[in-house]
Symmetry: C2
Subunit: 188 residues, 2 copies
DNA sequence: AGTTGTCAAATGAACGTTCACTCAATACAG
DNA sequence: CTGTATTGAGTGAACGTTCATTTGACAACT
């Protein structure tokens, strides 16, 4: 038999919960199913995390911190930054799904996550600085520029398949579209 | 007392369901709550619509058809089209929420809605025609151009508040950003 | 080394509640 | 009276949560 390893169980539980929540959201997630995926009983969820909600929060925090750390911004190359974001979203589709569930289900419930706000503020500041130094278009304000970049990068992750399946199907082609679009948005 | 009017009840039920589903999604919606809003019993839902899922489908179809009919595309003025889309989404925020719930919860479940596909195909064709006539940039393909336009128009409806609350707060300013961004995307 | 005590890890059955759905009874219109 | 609209009590299953109990690891003691 495998030796006991609570920390590993905890991680397995988080991983399974991440998959379950990404697929079904909070209301749709089932504790039994999730525990089954992690190879343990449903009761164990309540030993480690207090409730379904808290489990979701734990998953969300972990995922968000992870996503915020990767892909640091490069204000001088927003198209490249958008490309990197797009790559990340393609490699980990569940991140965007979790973020969307969170936005829909916790509507007005919780205050803005501090880690996200800070991470975004840094990026806005970096962009503003590049604008002051004349290295970036000032047609849009710094927050607008960041939002346009991120929004374009997440185009295929957020739009309905009826729209997004019409364009290019291959990753490289889609990526090229994203990069080119952001280039047009940021050029002087 | 008001005379009996089954058709009005049906409409009231649809309206209440639309609000309920937009707020909580399919899994989170409650039949009792929804029936209460419509001023009738939960049982009546099952005489008019067969089940919770079918009720959602009815709501979704109605909303989608309604949304597809308004704001016909103007290939020669995609920025203006984006502005109109943005206005519509601001006036009826529940439409985008319903579409998002649908995308998340019916993942791979149902085939693409025919009404949507057709409506989109028309728009793509109109854009392609304008491109052939030299009235529109050919830097992007027609589907890409439509997707970029729609995606930019729905920017504030789809991004998390942590991002979208940083930029301009007034409708007019946000609209101007959308229009200007699309202008940049479509210019030769 | 073997026995025992101790505590955390983990289980699985049970509980109380919620919820979608049903149906017999009733109110109403024609 | 006849048929339709509507109700509201009721049902069974599903689900989140709890808890008494078991299992496993490890150290203390003989």
């Amino acid at each position: 038999m495998a030796p006991r390893d609570p920390e590993a169980k905890r991680r397995a539980l988080l991983k399974a919960a991440r998959a379950e929540f990404a697929e079904h959201g909070i209301a749709g997630a089932r504790i039994d199913r999730l525990a089954g995926r992690a190879g343990c009983s449903a009761g164990l969820v309540y030993t480690y995390f207090g409730s379904k909600e808290e489990l979701f929060t734990a998953v969300f925090d972990q995922v968000v911190v992870q996503a915020a750390e990767q892909a640091p911004i490069s204000p001088d190359d927003l198209p490249g930054y958008a490309g990197a974001l797009f790559d990340g979203q393609t490699a980990h589709p569940d991140v965007m799904r979790l973020a969307t569930w969170h936005r829909l289900e916790q509507q007005g419930g919780r205050p803005p996550i501090e880690a996200i706000t800070r991470s975004i503020q840094e990026k806005v500041d970096a962009i503003r600085k590049a604008q002051r130094d004349g290295r970036l278009s000032t047609r849009f304000s710094a927050p607008e520029l960041l939002m346009l970049t991120i929004n374009t990068a997440s185009m295929w992750a957020l739009q309905s398949p009826e729209i997004s399946d019409l364009g290019p199907r291959e990753h490289a082609a889609r990526r090229a579209t994203v990069v080119e679009a952001v280039r047009r948005l940021v050029e002087p």
